[in-house]
């Protein structure tokens, strides 16, 4: 598993049919953090699922990066709220 701690941007782009410029843009939008080592660009494996999700939204739904950023924020908020709902529900049981 350690093998995949970092993913080479170039390799990722080839696998997903996107340009490295697109990935740079994601970086500039603050969506995916890309860093450089020995002139090679990488991003963290932790962000792989997110990167793939962005590409799906981008290519399946034609959503631009501004839109994706908004969706991403809202989904995070929903996730947070769902956690809160679960906690509140559990609390409510005490009084049932």
């Amino acid at each position: 598993m350690e093998r995949y701690q970092y993913i080479e941007v170039k390799e990722f782009c080839m696998g997903h049919g996107v340009t490295t410029r697109f990935m740079r843009e994601l970086h500039e939008f603050g969506l995916i953090e890309i860093f450089q080592k020995n002139n090679v660009q990488y991003f963290s494996n932790e962000e792989l699922a997110k990167a793939e999700k962005i590409i799906r939204l981008y290519s399946d739904l034609d959503i631009n990066l501004e839109g994706i950023e908004v969706i991403h924020d809202l989904l995070e908020r929903i996730e947070h709220m769902q956690g809160e709902i679960i906690a509140l529900r559990n609390k409510l049981r005490v009084y049932e």
Binding site: M1, R3, Y4, F12, G15, H16, G17, N45, L48, A49, E52, K53, R56, L57, S59, D60, L61, D62, I71, L75, I78, E79, I86, A87, R89, N90, K91, R93, V94
Partner: protein
């Protein structure tokens, strides 16, 4: 095999123009896309249907074929049979190439008409996939089973994995087991396994996070005069001192007798005991007399 009405899936009429179809598809795809509907299997199912409908109606050739096919649907099974050999070939092709989220298992209906999806000239969207699919699973446990940290072997998609279930896990909580999802593509990493815990409380305690709550009956005499009682905690009985003149509804805290704190070994929440003072019933005449005496003492005070 059931006939599928792709027009109604997209909510359009048979006379819809190609641009109407495109519009309807896009609108529905945005609504049901699995990435904007996380953990919603119903949305995922819908999304697949919409895509299938779009593959058929969004392509002029396919649409024509579908419209004709719909007419003599009675012969569908014969056509299906004729397709079978071809299909099997394509299936084996597919299984090597498709995994992960993008895989769209099209319906039998679709496959009988158009063969496997790889045969038709579809919109040409990339089917590339790198990381494997994430799996979701639900594990139902009893409250007493999450009181202690323990290991458990689960079977997920035919594979056995051994996981540690930390004490104090919350109802509805999800944990991620890295690398136990679907296989990755072209040397990519595996997806993750997400286990959501559904915890049934079969105990006499109510739980709020790490704290436990219980209401117990207290007889009038112990409440008035004080004394010692035995109470059940989650891990056995303890002796509890009751103060004299304890009121009904009094709540006492038993420190660290609650539920284990998640991922903090040796830390426990508190147990709160609420007293419900029971007034004696079926009094004998002697007892009644004594109560009357008590009452008159109180009145003359």
């Amino acid at each position: 095999m059931k006939y599928i009405d792709y027009y109604s899936i997209l909510g359009i009429t048979k006379g819809a123009s190609q641009s109407d179809i495109k519009k309807a598809y896009r609108k529905l795809a945005r609504k049901y896309h699995p990435d904007v509907n996380p953990n919603d299997s119903e949305a995922e199912r819908k999304f697949k249907q919409i895509n299938e409908a779009n593959e058929v109606l969004g392509n002029v050739e396919n649409r024509k074929k579908y419209d004709e096919y719909g007419k003599d649907w009675q012969h569908a099974d014969e056509i299906a049979k004729a397709r079978k050999a071809q299909q099997q070939h394509q299936r084996s092709y597919q299984s090597q190439h498709s995994d992960g989220f993008r895989e769209q298992d099209f319906s039998d209906f679709f496959e009988s008409m158009f063969g496997g999806r790889s045969s038709a000239d579809f919109s040409g969207k990339q089917q590339v996939k790198f990381r494997g699919q994430d799996y979701n699973a639900e594990l139902i446990l009893k409250l007493n089973e999450v009181y202690t940290t323990h290991k458990r072997t689960l079977t997920v998609n035919g594979r056995n994995i051994r996981i540690t279930i930390p004490a104090g896990i919350e109802n509805g909580q999800t944990i991620k087991i890295k690398g136990h999802g679907g296989p990755g593509r072209s040397g990519g990493p595996k997806g993750d396994l997400f286990i959501t815990f559904s915890i049934e409380n079969n105990s006499g305690f109510k739980r709020d996070g790490d704290n436990l709550y219980k209401t117990i009956d207290l007889d009038l005499y112990t409440a008035v005069l004080g004394g010692e009682i035995m109470v059940d905690t989650f891990d056995g009985k303890v002796k509890l001192k009751v103060k004299p003149e304890t009121q009904n509804g009094t709540r006492v805290k038993l420190k660290s007798k609650g539920f284990p704190v998640y991922k903090r070994e040796g830390h426990f929440g508190d147990l709160f005991i609420t007293y419900r003072v029971k007034t004696p019933t079926n009094l004998t005449s002697k007892e009644k007399e004594l109560f009357r005496e008590l009452a008159s003492l109180k009145a003359t005070k």
